[in-house]
């Protein structure tokens, strides 16, 4: 059991929790929170995939010399990707919240089941 594997399991658990929240909650704000938890789970999984046992952060300094970085650092690529993904997730969350504000303004309710316009 290294940290990468633990991160993988924790990330999958967060993803399942988030999907459960999105599917079962009635309050729109709680659905958005579910989405955020789902998103965070994905990030944890991605960072966990880049982990290599016994290695350190990809920053050249005292413990990592510029010419031995290959053998001392974890994979920097997933970390850079997660940095991007966090920002996109934030944008999506902000859009959903703005939409929730709009819905509340129109229908005076944050309960998803009171909006049946698109129900088939």
């Amino acid at each position: 059991m290294d940290y990468g594997f633990i991160a993988l399991i924790a990330g999958f658990a967060l993803i399942l929790l988030g999907v459960w929240g999105i599917l079962t909650q009635k309050n729109i704000i709680k659905i958005i929170i579910g989405f955020s938890v789902f998103d965070t789970g994905l990030h944890v999984v991605m960072v966990g995939l880049g982990f290599i046992k016994g290695r350190t952060a990809p920053i050249i300094g005292e413990s990592v010399s510029a010419y031995n970085a290959v053998n001392t650092v974890v994979d920097p690529v997933p970390q850079a990707l997660v940095l991007t993904a966090i920002v996109i997730g934030l944008g999506v969350t902000a859009l959903m919240l703005a939409y929730a504000v709009k819905l509340q303004g129109h229908g005076k309710s944050l309960d998803i089941s009171s909006y049946e316009d698109l129900k088939w």
Partner: protein, 231 residues
């Protein structure tokens, strides 16, 4: 009832998928080819101490430009959706406590300073433009909480955001003429790895990204804040 069963079935299916993924997971014990290239060449080619920064700002700089664009689009769409306090009624706000007001006055400059430190040192330490920008936005939201009646300077946010966005693109285009290509950071001297004045254009780009993200997030938060209690 049928809905609950469907939810449980879906979660079980996802769980099985994840179980298989985790079961077959083989932890890597060395870097793959791309990561090896980045780890070997970052110090010489980009001159940043933080390899993640080198990937985000220089190797995959175009992605970051797209990311900043997405954030800008989000801010624009939220501003469009939440535009106008149409009721015209002044919102009644309770005065915030003396404690909050005084503390906000003392702490906010420190928060701004920390945010600036984080994005100026983005090429040396963990952190960078997005993180520093988020810290700055958190300082602004503290100000909004302490003085709810104050009109947030949304016009100023828009100006800072536009100028830094334009300057980012201009720096990228300067790379085509002065260095190897779009967003190449060697238009400024690379310097010695680990120095504050190193890594070419990376610190400049991260300062611009920090300002842009900070003003964008602050604008977003101010928009949500102005909608609060609005019917």
């Amino acid at each position: 009832m049928a809905k609950n069963i469907a939810v449980i079935l879906l979660l079980l299916a996802m769980g099985t998928l994840f179980y298989n993924l985790a079961d077959n997971f083989q932890a890597a014990d060395s870097l793959n080819e791309t990561a090896t290239y980045y780890a070997e060449n970052t110090a010489d080619e980009v001159g940043t101490a933080n390899i993640v920064t080198a990937i985000v700002v220089t190797y995959r700089g175009l992605d970051t430009l797209g990311e900043v664009t997405i954030l800008f689009l989000t801010a624009a769409i939220v501003a469009f959706l939440l535009k106008g306090n149409t009721s015209g009624v002044e919102r009644e706000t309770r005065d915030s406590s003396e404690l909050l007001k005084t503390a906000a006055g003392v702490i906010t400059p420190l928060i701004f300073l920390l945010g600036a430190y984080i994005f100026i040192n983005g090429h040396l330490t963990p952190g960078g433009g997005f993180q520093g920008g988020a810290v700055i936005a958190s300082g602004l939201i503290l100000l909004l909480l302490a003085k709810p009646e104050s009109k947030a300077a949304t016009g100023l946010f828009a100006v800072v955001e536009s100028i830094s966005g334009l300057a980012y693109v201009a720096l990228g285009i300067a790379g085509i003429f002065l260095a190897g290509g779009f967003l190449d950071n060697s238009i400024l001297p690379l310097g010695k790895v680990g120095d504050l004045m190193s890594a070419g254009a990376v610190p400049v780009i991260y300062i611009l990204v920090g300002l842009k993200v900070g003003s964008e997030l602050a604008g977003l938060l101010a928009k949500f804040h102005s909608m609060q209690g609005d019917k």
